[in-house]
Amino acid sequence: MSKKITRHEYQHLVEKTMPPSRVFRDVLAAFVTGGLICTIAQIFFMGMESLGVDEETAYMLTTVIMIFLGAVLTGLNIYDKIGKFGGAGASIPVTGFSNSIVSPAMEYKKEGYVMGVGAKMFLIAGPVLVYGIFASVVAGLIYYLWIQVM
C-alpha cells in the first residue's frame, strides 16, 4: 500500500525539493547568458584592438555597440525572451541596462512623449545612474582628501 500524504504535506515537500534544482537552473542559465553576451563584446573589443584602436577607446566603443544591440533587441521584443531565460545573465550586462531603458519607454509611450517615454525611460536606469554617479562623487571626494593627507 502506498503511503498517502495530505495536500499540505505534498506542498511542503514540493517547496523543500524544488528550490535547489530551480536555483541550479537559474544559475546555469545566468552563467551561459552573461558569458555569451560578454563573449560577443570581447570579439568586438579584440576586433577593434586588431584595427589599432587604443584600449580605452575600444572598451568605450564596445560598450556603445552592446548598448545599441540591447536597445534594438528590446525593440524587436527579443531581449525579453533572453531575459526570461537568462535572468541576471541578461540584466547585469550593459545590454540589460539598455533593455531597462527601452522596455518601460515603449510600454508607457501611450502616456505621451514627455511624461511617458521621457520619464519612464529612467524607471530603472534612473536609480542606477543616481547611485552610480553619487558613489563616484563620494569616492572622488575621499580620494581627494586621501591624497591631501598622504
Binding site: Y59, A71, V94, I133, S136, A139, Y143, Y144
Partner: protein, 118 residues
C-alpha cells in the same frame, strides 16, 4: 582565443553572483543593478576591479560593475588632473559615451517599436 574564454568565464561568474543574490535574498533585479554599479565604483576606487578587467577584459567591463569601475576610474583621473573640481566632473565624463548612447538608442528604439500585445 584564451581571452575570449576568460571573458566568457568572468562575465558569467559576475552574472551568477547576481543570480544567487536574486534567488536567495529576494532582492529585486532593479536593486541588484544599483548594488552592482555601486560595488563597481567601490572596487574600482580600491584598485581591485582594474585587476579583474586585466584578466577578463570585456567580460569585466560589460557587466554593470564595469560601468561602476568606469565611473571610479574617471573620477580618480580627474582628481589627479584638476584637483577638487575633478570630484564632480570625472565620473560622468568617463561614463558619458555610455549614458548618451543609452539615451539616444533607447529613445529612438522606444519611438519606432511597438510593445508586444499581452
Amino acid at each position: 582565443m584564451t581571452d575570449i574564454i576568460k571573458a566568457f568565464i568572468t562575465g558569467g561568474i559576475i552574472c551568477v553572483i547576481a543570480q544567487l543574490l536574486i534567488d536567495y535574498t529576494k532582492i529585486t533585479p532593479a536593486r541588484i543593478m544599483v548594488l552592482f554599479v555601486v560595488t563597481g565604483v567601490v572596487l574600482g576606487v580600491l584598485g581591485i576591479y582594474p585587476a579583474i578587467v586585466e584578466f577578463g577584459q570585456a567580460g569585466a567591463t560589460i557587466p554593470l560593475t564595469g560601468f561602476g569601475n568606469t565611473l571610479a576610474k574617471g573620477v580618480i583621473k580627474a582628481v589627479n588632473e584638476t584637483g577638487l573640481t575633478g570630484v564632480l566632473t570625472g565620473g560622468v565624463k568617463a561614463a558619458s559615451a555610455g549614458i548618451s548612447s543609452a539615451i539616444t538608442f533607447g529613445y529612438i528604439m522606444a519611438i519606432v517599436s511597438k510593445p508586444k500585445l499581452k
